[in-house]
């Protein structure tokens, strides 16, 4: 088994009860390649999410689906935009402490040059710190031309 520290960036529009929310996140996760060849992404921030597949790209897609499924669950529960915003922020900021410890150990190895995933681009994690922004979209802001829905590529944290 080998693990890599990675960062991801998602940009989504979520429809709730009577509101549209733009959710922009830059998060951290641990990419683990199991001995049987399975690839898994385990969230650090948000810590309560995971996704797996036969290869990294599939694991990344499943991780994104898991993340979105949680946002949809929260949107279904929330009665107002403010409730949605507060709960999504809580979800995002709850760090998975044991996974974070593994992420930091792997990050040290990357910084030393002892670990490298040749299939992922690298990014300086100081330039992509974990963050979340949630804004209520009004009227014309929900028109497709005005919404940036392009995710950032999965990158190895350096």
């Amino acid at each position: 088994m080998i693990s890599y520290p990675v960062v991801f960036g998602y940009r989504d529009v979520i429809k709730g009860r009577g509101f549209f929310a733009g959710v922009v996140t830059d998060g951290q996760a641990l990419l683990t390649i199991e001995d049987d060849g399975g690839h898994w992404l385990f969230g650090v921030n948000p810590g309560g999410v995971a996704g797996g597949g036969k290869e990294t790209a599939e694991a990344a897609r499943e991780f994104k689906k898991s993340y979105l499924s949680v946002l949809f669950d929260i949107a279904e529960e929330a009665h107002t935009f403010q409730e949605f915003k507060a709960e999504v922020e809580r979800f995002f900021h709850e760090t998975n402490e044991p996974t974070e410890a593994e992420w930091k150990r792997a990050h040290v190895e990357v910084k030393k040059g002892a670990l490298n995933n040749p299939n992922l681009p690298r990014v300086d994690v100081d330039k992509r710190p974990s963050s979340i922004q949630i804004i209520e979209l009004q009227g014309d802001e929900t028109a497709p031309r005005d919404v940036n829905v392009f995710d950032a590529p999965l990158c190895e944290a350096a």
Binding site: T32, W40, G48
Partner: protein
């Protein structure tokens, strides 16, 4: 077996009863939301629709055990998830 395999959800719930006494779980639209000791895991899958014996991938169980800080107990109760 590894994170890539599956495990019956009822075995996961039995582990939670032992390792996270007093935990709360709520069935949401896409996931079970599990809360314990001030921590929350919202990504325990419901399992396949229509199945009498729903199963989840072990990776979700491992991540949940880490999130709820019950990993040592989970390893004892569900050794197949970690072998």
């Amino acid at each position: 077996m590894s994170s890539s395999g599956t495990i019956e959800l009822k075995l996961v719930f039995a582990m939670l009863d032992t390792c996270a006494p007093g935990h709360q779980k709520k069935k949401r639209l896409h996931n079970w939301k599990v809360s314990y000791n001030g921590h929350e895991f919202r990504n325990l899958k419901l399992g396949e629709h229509g199945s009498n014996r729903p199963e989840v991938f072990m990776g979700f169980v491992r991540q949940m055990a880490r999130q709820l800080l019950i990993e040592d107990c989970a390893k004892r109760e569900l050794p197949t998830v970690y072998s």
